[in-house]
Symmetry: C3
Subunit: 346 residues, 3 copies
């Protein structure tokens, strides 16, 4: 496919410097963009890369207008990274085939499921009774939509997604392959006593569901458990990466972003506009206020009541250095006592 | 649905204080339970919440009998949390539709699979030759049961579960969506030498299987690998949360509970009645005795031969404090040496 | 099944000590191998176990030739562990049924997909238009192969695998259940400003794909994301365990092995012949050179430009000791300052 620069400038609401009839055939990172590609400069920090680029066109911020014009064609946008994002969406819509509305004859749709005529249900999808699939929604191949589950307008479940009984997702969502929304929360009561029953676990049936807002994206093989009594809640605009575990009765505030491999234990309350780095771990029953950022691999063991940046990864090192420091770490408290003793003497 | 208090007291084997004909329509946490709900007080610690609750009925321990009676209807049980667990199960059984026995015409069942007439195999499930599905067992939509695999009596594989060739699960189990039981263990022999073959990995075919006992629950997208030569073993009553990795030839003792995102490397032996916190990591070929508790995110690098509580998470902090401490941590061994030098002088 | 020792010695290219007509019926670890089993001694370190073994035959290195001969039948191979690996493969090929070529009538294959007559597509698999499945390849039950995706010669997708649109895997690969190759990378541009739009995330459509070389194994429920603009790359001979997250535009060099629960953030470049321990975490946009080994649970926060062994796990301890040391760790920088003050005085 190809696109004319005039068309792209209009799409992005930017000022075009150069020939509106000139064409580009791809979007590329600045360092590898050739004359047939459009690229972008997300930040003025990268200005040094601009002059040497052979890109057919570059999206730049107003501050770089002159520098870009000196090089060749450019589209000037207030926020080039955002413009780039919108350009990729437009490009994808032009180059990818949208699923056709209708229920494939090889899908299994139980009686009493309500499928909007403008929804698409693929071959080998399974939609149980009482489920509702709204207009423009897509249920991909090998998905399972449980009894009474609801898929909102325009929401896409890519292949092999589970939306379990009674769980609901709003409009314009996107759920990637392997995600499981609505498996049971991990809840058991210990059976006390010394007999053969003692030490067993009695299951707490998970009677709640998962309720997800609009514009939510959920990554591949991510799990969001259903609530024990009340529902697990994911608010509008939340973005969750792959292989994330969200326990029962967690609530995640609007526009919070959660990177891959994160674990959030039951009943944690995460605020709005938070970002949680990869492989971080948040304990149960605690609260994180709005606008908190947690860096990679941090283990959050108590509530965070003040916005800001929080960290907790062990600094890695070459193995020999790490071994020495880790061994000393086991005596750290004793070291402090020895230091205190010296201080008293001094 | 609704239930009369007399019926619930009989079910739970507790003493009813109040009108046996009074009805409740839901189970709710104490803080949000209204007059149409039954709730519970898991511990006397929460006694202060009791007086203010508007719950229609509260399950309490004998010690709180009088305090509860002063408030309104109550059911007195020796272990209110356990009673609550049993109540949720009864509630679920009353409100959820059980799958009907029989093989759906749109399931794929290969010749030579033995499906008990009282088992249920859903549409789009795939059951290979030689598999056996016992009475009361449920194979949900889009599940894959491999050749010669065995599903015990009353065990439920929710949708999109894989039970691979030759793997077995006992009675009354529950496996959530996306779980993979019996993928290959991660075993390779290095090819030595300097040529093009050198540094390659030669696969060790995984000839064992996975054998799972009775009353085991396995979470969504959890993986339990098949053994290399002998089998991987999960004993009775084990509860495993979501996104847990269990390597080949691991054995997990009865009634051990494992939280989400845990990784257990090959040939580790975990005892009975252990609990392993979320995102903990257990190295291979080591042994953990019975009644060991491991807290969240702990990396267990050697055997644990004494029951007790073990920890190892890095304490998180605001980023500035963490950076200072983490930087100093890299010099910790040197600090110790400096301290020692001072001590010698003093 | 059973195998004669003469046949096995020829297969492994080793010298047989003993009766070529003697038979073994299984492969077993040395400590549990009885007279009907063949076993192996991976290293001379285990020599003490040799004399007491009742194994029908033992594969040993030349250095142990005499010790093995004194005990009974043996096959002498230059690299017994590698010979064992090859023996398991041969055993598996002899005892497991290979899928028959052809497309099962209950598979869904869209028009325009190219399936080699020698490929096998199982019941309930979904292969989209434009996909190509090469000779000897196997698409297992409930797999999803996207539009234009390519499965190379002899590559096996076990059940419930997703290979998304346009993604390619080379020859002789093996992908385990639940793996998702080609879900969207996690890329969003923040929408700035104070209005209702401010703080939202705008999706960056992921226009790249995933390209995987030959002889690659990918574990159960592992995710490899498609690239944003360019492709995510996994080179020949790479082995990836279960529940691993590989972000968009990562590249992984040939013959690198990655254990379970690892997370690799976007655009990281991992070299050849590396090994990455379980639950390790590698940040985005950094570079790791060839022949780097990273131990379990290490968080790699900067590039590693020198081959070697790197570590970073917090040393675990019993809870009481850990609590003391962790609390002191929060004051570590202050301790250093106090030490410095003492040193100045001394």
């Amino acid at each position: 496919m190809s696109a004319r620069l005039g068309e792209l400038a209009a799409l992005l609401g930017g000022e075009l410097i150069g020939d509106p009839g000139a064409e580009v055939a791809r979007i590329a990172p600045l360092e590898s963009a050739g004359p047939d590609a459009i690229s972008f400069l997300a930040s003025a920090r990268y200005q040094s890369q601009l002059a040497g680029s052979t890109a057919g066109c570059v999206i730049v911020a107003p501050a770089l207008r002159d520098a870009a014009a000196a090089r060749g064609a450019a589209i000037v946008c207030a926020d080039p990274y955002l413009a780039f994002a919108r350009l990729t969406q437009w490009w994808a819509a032009r180059t990818r085939r949208a699923p056709e509305p209708g229920v494939d004859a090889r899908a299994v749709v139980e009686e009493g499921a309500l499928i909007d005529p403008q929804a698409s249900v693929a071959a080998l999808a399974h939609v149980a009774r009482g489920a509702r699939i709204a207009a423009g929604a897509v249920v991909g191949p090998l998905c399972q939509v449980g009894e009474g589950a609801v898929v909102g307008e325009g929401t896409v479940l890519k292949g092999r997604v589970t939306l379990a009984d009674g769980c609901r997702i709003g409009a314009r969502g996107l759920v990637h392959a392997g995600a499981v929304i609505g498996a049971d929360g991990f809840g058991f009561a210990p059976v006390r006593g010394e007999g053969t029953e003692g030490g067993r676990w009695e299951k707490i049936a998970q009677l709640g569901a998962v309720v997800i807002g609009d514009d939510v994206e959920i990554g591949a093989n991510t799990c969001i458990d259903r609530g024990a009594l009340a529902d697990t809640l994911v608010d509008d605009g939340v973005k969750i990466d792959n292989l994330v575990q969200v326990g029962h009765n967690v609530s995640i505030g609007a526009h919070t972003a959660i990177a891959g491999n994160v674990g959030i234990a039951g009943s944690a309350q995460i605020g709005r506009h938070c970002s949680i780095g990869g492989a971080a771990c948040i304990l149960g029953h605690l609260r994180i206020v709005d606008h908190v950022q947690i860096t990679v691999a941090t283990v959050v063991t108590r509530s965070i009541l003040k916005p800001g940046l929080y960290s907790g990864a062990f600094p890695f090192d070459d193995n020999a250095a790490w071994e020495k420091n880790a061994a000393t770490l086991r005596q750290l408290h004793a070291l402090r006592e020895r230091l205190r003793a010296l201080e008293r003497k001094a």
